[in-house]
Symmetry: D3
Amino acid sequence: MFAITVRDHVMIAHSFRGEVFGPAQRLHGATYVVDATFRRADLDPDGLVVDIGLATGELGEVLGGLNYRNLDDEPDFAGVNTSTEFLAKVIADRLADHVHAGALGEHARGLSGIQVTLHESHVAWASYERDL
Amino acid sequence: MFAITVRDHVMIAHSFRGEVFGPAQRLHGATYVVDATFRRADLDPDGLVVDIGLATGELGEVLGGLNYRNLDDEPDFAGVNTSTEFLAKVIADRLADHVHAGALGEHARGLSGIQVTLHESHVAWASYERDL
Amino acid sequence: MFAITVRDHVMIAHSFRGEVFGPAQRLHGATYVVDATFRRADLDPDGLVVDIGLATGELGEVLGGLNYRNLDDEPDFAGVNTSTEFLAKVIADRLADHVHAGALGEHARGLSGIQVTLHESHVAWASYERDL
Amino acid sequence: MFAITVRDHVMIAHSFRGEVFGPAQRLHGATYVVDATFRRADLDPDGLVVDIGLATGELGEVLGGLNYRNLDDEPDFAGVNTSTEFLAKVIADRLADHVHAGALGEHARGLSGIQVTLHESHVAWASYERDL
Amino acid sequence: MFAITVRDHVMIAHSFRGEVFGPAQRLHGATYVVDATFRRADLDPDGLVVDIGLATGELGEVLGGLNYRNLDDEPDFAGVNTSTEFLAKVIADRLADHVHAGALGEHARGLSGIQVTLHESHVAWASYERDL
Amino acid sequence: MFAITVRDHVMIAHSFRGEVFGPAQRLHGATYVVDATFRRADLDPDGLVVDIGLATGELGEVLGGLNYRNLDDEPDFAGVNTSTEFLAKVIADRLADHVHAGALGEHARGLSGIQVTLHESHVAWASYERDL
């Protein structure tokens, strides 16, 4: 099994609802350093999992939809806690839509899975893994 | 599949028995930077894999039982080589006990697996992965 | 010249005023991974620059005054852009106050300087350095 | 499941063929920081996955066959794009040969799998995973 | 004293002349992860050392003049060893030219110094520091 | 001013004397990831600060005198606390002796300073800087 990963980041504000969150119930924010991993069993005709330039570009597109925003005000996330693990799934699902729409190239239709990891600090990170 | 990881560290002394260990048969020590990963298929009602604060606290508890100790003197490890991979299993198993005892909260009973990685330097690390 | 550095982090929300900031004029947030460095010419009677436990504790105290907050609402920062470099100075100055108040121990009065670095992502960081 | 990973690096020149590669069609180069992971279900009689010293030595041997070379001139890679993911497989397969030849010790025959990750920069890496 | 640093990378081929270089006399290559640091005594009217977006853009411009190239063929480097430390100076000097030309904004004329660090692997890096 | 840095590591056991050390008064240990920086105003005739291979070799030599040892038993350190900052000075001074003895080559006599940083974990490090 082959994989490639590209890294970018996003800076957002949000708050959490629920006693378990303690002071994180206040409006605060985070930098998420985001790793997007693409997997497939065999390389494409160019000898690649997926073009790193295209993968980086599409990850940037997806993160652009979240960057410099207060997630508490985003209609897509109304009524949910935008936890690190939840956002990992949001980003993975949006990347999967981009793959299915052909934005990573025709060969990218041979990808079998995506994993997205969000580092919220040097001591905590979360990920979500799904099939394509 | 979702996962969250929290990081902490522990500083211990120990020695190894066996020719394969060469100079590491002498009493020496290590800092282990420890990553504990918790996995589950779906998020809990708070939108979490497990609360990062609780996970960090319980990892700290488990590491507190090893920290600033000479492992050669610990009855639990009599007659075994406390290799990095062995200690990864010790920590994973102790964390699993904490999960089963409810120390990570009731929702944490929905966790499906734990992985523990110990970084012994910038060029070597070991891990152990188990079901819950 | 000797130095020790301890690392912690803080998660805040804020916005910027000024065209130069582009989309960062919107309310967003950041995780700052914070490195506090303490310098002195000679070691203290314990063979230390400063006790790492005390240094970590006081850095945590200072960061606790910022953590999980919207800096736009903090009276201390009314009318200023809480840029990464500005916050590095805030944290360095508050740590200096702690040193002068004796919170890092009597020997810490022998410290000659402090540097604080805030990593806002894996590709950008800022620092402020001052005498004590 | 247990695993250990050792890290080393290699510095090579190469070029790519295919429009997808853009300016990377020109002769350029890369440092690959290489992580080799060895997996097995149970520890060997010494309490190890595999000896870290031996693993490091064999990884160095394999990388020595690529280091400080223009891969465009290597007969082994004639007519192929030596992409990061392709090279991950080359290194994993050569390490597997070393395991099968006994170079990592007799106990290493109990290894079940190898994964090799090549970091081509701080924002992109690729890996290949295989059974033994 | 304040500073900000931005990070990018560049991938080049080259060879060295001189016995001291051993196998690095062969054509090979490197990824340099490049950190550009800008210093000044006081913040500008926006509360910044220099705008991180502009700094990142200009660093990208400078690296674009080196990226995906065989430095042995570059007229600028004829007859010199393009060592990591030499390239750190090249990049710092070119960034200084951009500052003097106003490419980092009018406020950037208040910068007092630049430092450029090139990481050639996880175990070696070089830097060059100069006044502005 | 130019600088190059090389990284290696060392694994030792030790204990501390003094109430300030709390549980670190017990025998424990550490991995120190060690960065040795060499500085000079101008490059040598090969275009280098110092040969990275030689620098790495001499750092390895110096660390070999500490590696896999209980520092409490070393006559050189009788009666002193082998704190991270103390050990940074020991390593810097021993490297300086190697430079003066010509072990880093004749050109290395043009070096002006050395800095040694010891990372004792992902959240604490210490350094010592001296002239040559």
